[in-house]
């Protein structure tokens, strides 16, 4: 059971964002995706989740080719993601932001929703308590009834992770989850990711914080200018001269 992308290519006008990328993510493993700004990391996320249609290549999930599936349909196949810049309804509460994540797994009968049927209200109460659990699991200490727009960037990132986990995904794609959050929260986040992997979720993390991913991931993929420059054990990738030169600049290459 895995996500397998083959030979992905994405061009935006003259820019080649991805150029023949092969990629795999198994359930239960944690993979880190690193690389300099503009390397194509977010674009790879967008191809897997269906936000961007690749110019070439295919995406196969658990054996089914989903290359032509819309973004919203892929979520129902168990692929959840967060965004590099968190997206929330700033006017809604933290609790509502997390509850939105239950969307793929909750029944939403049309007439029941309009008439407030008993089953809808029960599902609502149920979601609310599960959202509270997720919020405390992720160490989000802000009052859940607070406006999401009033949160710090770090807290918003954790809210997004909670929302992505709410759907009960098989694969979790996190775009720079540790950027802008303090060390204490990074620790909580790392534990949540480890637990998710232990529960059988395949986790893909884009991160500029190399020590954070190196510690967490069993495998790293280094992307440079839309191509995979190196992949494998973290120690191997981080000492790969090709990658080091591209990522850290020539002075560190020695």
């Amino acid at each position: 059971m895995k996500i397998a992308a083959r030979d992905l290519a994405v061009r935006f006008g003259g820019i080649t964002a991805l150029d023949g990328v092969d990629f795999e993510l198994n359930r239960g493993e944690i993979v880190g995706l690193i690389g300099p700004n503009g390397a194509g990391k977010t674009t790879l996320f967008n191809c897997i989740t269906g936000v961007v249609a690749p110019n070439a290549g295919s995406v196969v999930v658990d054996g089914a080719d989903i290359s032509n599936h819309r973004f919203d349909l892929r979520v129902h196949l168990g692929i959840s993601r967060t965004f590099q810049t968190p997206r929330v309804n700033a006017h809604g509460t933290v609790l509502e932001a997390v509850m939105l994540g239950f969307n793929p797994i909750v029944k939403k009968p049309l007439f029941g929703s309009f008439f407030g049927s008993r089953s809808v209200r029960k599902a609502e109460a149920d979601m609310e308590s599960r959202a509270h659990n997720l919020i405390s699991e992720l160490g989000i200490t802000t009052d859940p009834t607070k406006r999401a727009g009033d949160l710090s960037l770090g807290a918003l990132r954790l809210v997004e992770v909670a929302r992505a986990l709410a759907a009960g995904p098989h694969y979790l794609l996190l775009d720079e989850p540790a950027a802008g959050i303090d060390e204490n929260d990074q620790g909580v986040l790392a534990n949540v990711i480890r637990k998710a992997a232990k529960d059988g979720i395949g986790v893909l993390i884009v991160e500029h914080n190399v020590p954070f991913v190196a510690d967490l991931c069993g495998r790293l993929i280094a992307l440079v200018q839309g191509r995979i420059a190196a992949s494998g054990e973290p120690s191997g990738v981080l000492s790969d001269p090709h990658f080091v030169r591209a990522y850290l600049g020539d002075s560190n290459a020695g």
Partner: protein
Amino acid sequence: MSKSVGRNAGVLTIVMLGILIVGQGHSSLYATAITVGLYALLGVPLGLIYGCGGVLSLAQAAFAAIGGYASALLFSHYHLPPEATLLPAIIVPALFAYVVSRPILRLPEMSMALATLALGLLVEVVFSSSGGLTGGYEGVTGLPPIPIVGNSRVGVLLLVWSAVIICVYCYDAFRTSARGRALIAIHVDRLLAESVGIPVARELSLLFAITAGISGFVGWLYAHYLGYIGPGSLNVHLSANLLFMVVVGGRKYSLGPVLGAAFFVFAGDWLPGSAQAHGMVFGALIVLVLLLVPEGLLSLVQSRFRWKRVASRPIPQSSQLSPEQSL
């Protein structure tokens, strides 16, 4: 959350009973209240798709006209009584709205307004220029009264306002359901909505069709209440006024459109002067309301009772990005 769902509907029920009692002495109040009710019945669903979902429609009166005409033509051509035409009057505009919605609802708000405006004009032209089939500019006369309530004003008032009360209840229930959160997410950020698996286009089309169906019901009520329907009865002018009612009353509250409808009708009754001067004063009044209370008249009441605790800190930059900015 769920305990307060029936509150607004309850308030409206009390208002309706109040009108019934007070109106016994002044029968013109009943007629006014029926007009307010019909506008509210068009306005509340519009308030839901516009206020929560960002769907700016100037075709709501056209959907009502389709419903009214469906019933009138089935009567004049096939002698079907209103009991039998009720369902077609709801389903025909709903289906029509569903079919035309896909391309329209993809557009940004302003283009959506223009596209629905064009749709409304088109419907008007079709009804006025189809000669013998629709009665042309003269419309269809001699329609039978609404079943059961007949020509009783109290009866019509009860029927129309009960429908409004049900709509307000449904609005509030929907708003606090998972589907309601989905609609708000679509409005805030379509990419966010898709990222949690919401089929944006289908959801909007479905809700749009439902509002069109309710509008069709209003058209049916209108046609059989007055015994007449013509191309000028439920026109684009009314669609624009409905939007005013929603915005002036408060587009984020279920009772907003009801208050807006009452404001609109009563201001129209009480303003002095000719019809033209009337229009100008009215326009000025709307601008004034929008400048002073951009969230609508109801926000004055709501802010007093409910939102006191909410901090009014500005939203941090990170959470109000346009969809294009860094995914």
